[in-house]
Amino acid sequence: MASKPVLQVSNVLKTFGGLKALNKLNLSIEEGTVHAIIGPNGAGKSTLLNVCIGQLTPDTGSVEFDGKNITGKAPHEISQLGISRVFQTPQIFEELSILQNVMIPALAHLDGQFTFNAIKDLNHRRDVQDEAMRIIEEMNLIDQLDDRAGAMSRGNKRRLELAMCLVQKPKLLLLDEPTAGMARADTNQTIEILQKIKASGMTKVIIEHDMNVVFSLADRVSVLAQGTIIAEGTPQEMRESEIVKEAYLGGAKI
């Protein structure tokens, strides 16, 4: 795959006190791939995602998305450009219903970052409703449409958050441990869903501890340790790489 990179992280340095969370990190994500980032705890995986979505500003270096420099841009601007993120702990609107949860990102996608429409009844926004319903159906959440999101199981919350990201039709989807803390059955269901979206050609970056998930989804794998990428290749190559075993798996056989 020699297509252009959709996300280009160059020389990014991010320190917290004396700790170099990201140490001159370089990473490029090619369009249409599923790119897994693995690494031991504290390697800087989440910091990397935070830099990509504008939650953190890098000390030096730059992040380019889709040919545009997004370093230091506000989260909502980056989101409007087409990056969505699923968080490690589901970030949803607990007090609102499932349908409302999905309608909100649909509104962001259709109406932009700020529109003032206080008069039109939301029930008359067919476009928003249809869009939301389509995704909810795809995520098998249709029976719980009017339930309060906060009352759902953790697995369902994750699926809801995924639905919220997908309804925005992002160019790049960042997934932070999408199966962490899930029961086996839920994990398999999530893999299935992710494989379904993989077919749609959306670029994805996925941080994962579960090697099953990595090997069944990823096209490429980067290994992150101490704030830099120490190895990169196909899942097969990474499985056999000595450096990776050393740094990440502590020599254990997988």
Binding site: I53, H76, Q100, L107, A108, N117, A118
Partner: protein
């Protein structure tokens, strides 16, 4: 909506058994209703607790009185101006205060309102007339009125194209305005804008990562609720053309918070319920005297009558604050969703009760009605 209008407009009739069917208090019900509806748009939808809304109430009142003095005794320009000017104030205050959230936002709004209050008492005396309060005078120019007629004898009174705006007509004018702004708040609640505000309350960070610039949403909500408060202030002046700085004091902001929480934050009708309860306590309960209590308990034997009067008198008259405080504590502790939630729960219980057995409904209806009040 038409049912709601009917209920509001028929208040002079159904308030009779509560002893509150006179125009003065009815006007207060609907005007503070406007205030609370507006406050609920900010606090109920976004969760931002403003301690400074009394400032807008005061600004609205001053603006309206100045409009009576300079332009016309007609309330239309006065009301429009009070909404516009308080809107401008809200933009300034919101722009600064919304840089922070949570308690810092509350403190900033409180500081701003207290600043307005103190300025009104001190350096701004030429505009606010300080402690005396801003009043109408015979010598006021009233430019627009002068175009049509000569100044009459004595102080003119506020009108709506010739209709006096005090007494019952004042109540009806205010009630119609309240119904209109209530309808507008209903639209906001059901609109995409309203949903986004609820989402900001629920998880503001998520909103940002979904691509919303939350600042302008919050500012818009703040300004809308500030304009509601300004409108309420304008109406207060329209029904009684007098504006004093005490309207801006933080206790007035506290009162609207109390009303909103008591009735039910974020619900459509809750704040109105809160207004009626608090204003009822303030005006009716506080006026109950020992004599009234004696006649109330007159059917009981004398020793019981006297002891009951002694106990009850702690809660009425001067003691109305105590009753209100206890009620407020009860609501916050047991009904965090406000009294409206209580009404709802009672209704649901009643409904299931009726479905189970329809044999002895009369007793239950009584408790329901008590709760509803």
């Amino acid at each position: 909506m038409s049912l709601f209008s009917a209920v509001v407009l028929s208040m002079p009739i159904w308030m009779i058994p509560f002893g509150a069917a006179y125009p003065d208090i009815l006007q207060k019900f609907v005007i503070f209703g406007v205030f609370a509806i507006g406050y609920n748009i900010l606090f109920g939808l976004t969760g931002y607790l403003s301690f400074g809304h009394a400032a807008f109430l005061g600004v609205g009142s001053y603006t309206a009185v100045w409009s009576f003095k300079l332009l016309s005794m007609n309330i239309i320009p006065a009301i429009i101006l009070s909404v516009v000017i308080s809107g401008i104030f809200a933009v300034a205050m919101g722009y600064i205060a919304l840089r922070r959230s949570g308690i810092y936002f509350s403190i900033l709004t409180l500081a701003f309102a207290q600043m307005c209050y103190n300025l009104a008492y001190s350096v701004l005396t030429p505009i606010t007339n300080g402690e005396t309060g801003l009043q109408l005078a015979k010598s006021d120019p009233r430019i627009i009125d002068r175009l049509f007629s000569e100044a009459g004898e004595g102080l003119p009174s506020t009108t709506l194209f010739g209709i006096e705006t005090s007494g019952y007509s004042g109540f009806y004018i205010s009630a119609v305005i309240m119904i209109i702004v209530f309808y507008f708040s209903l639209r906001i609640f059901n609109s995409s804008f309203g949903l986004k505000l609820k989402a900001i309350k629920s998880n503001q960070n998520r909103m940002r990562y979904l691509g919303f610039n939350t600042k302008p949403y919050l500012l818009t909500a703040f300004v809308i609720s500030g304009m509601y408060a300004g409108l309420a202030g304008g109406l207060l002046a329209a029904t009684d053309p007098l504006a004093g700085a005490e309207r801006m004091q933080w206790t007035a902001s506290g009162e609207v918070i109390l009303m909103t929480i008591l009735g039910g934050v974020g619900t459509l009708f809750g704040p109105l319920l809160g207004v009626i309860i608090i204003k009822y306590f303030e005006n009716i309960f506080s006026a109950v005297s020992q004599v009234d209590l004696h006649s109330f308990y007159a059917f009981l034997p004398a020793w019981l009558e006297n002891s009951l009067v002694a106990i009850s008198s702690m809660f009425v008259g001067e003691g109305w604050h105590l009753t209100l405080g206890l009620l407020f504590m009860f609501v916050v502790a047991f009904l965090p969703g406000g009294l409206l939630e209580g009404v709802e729960i009672t209704f649901k219980k009643l409904l299931s009760y009726f479905q189970k057995s329809t044999s002895k409904p009369t007793k239950e209806v009584d408790t329901g009605a008590n709760h509803g009040e």
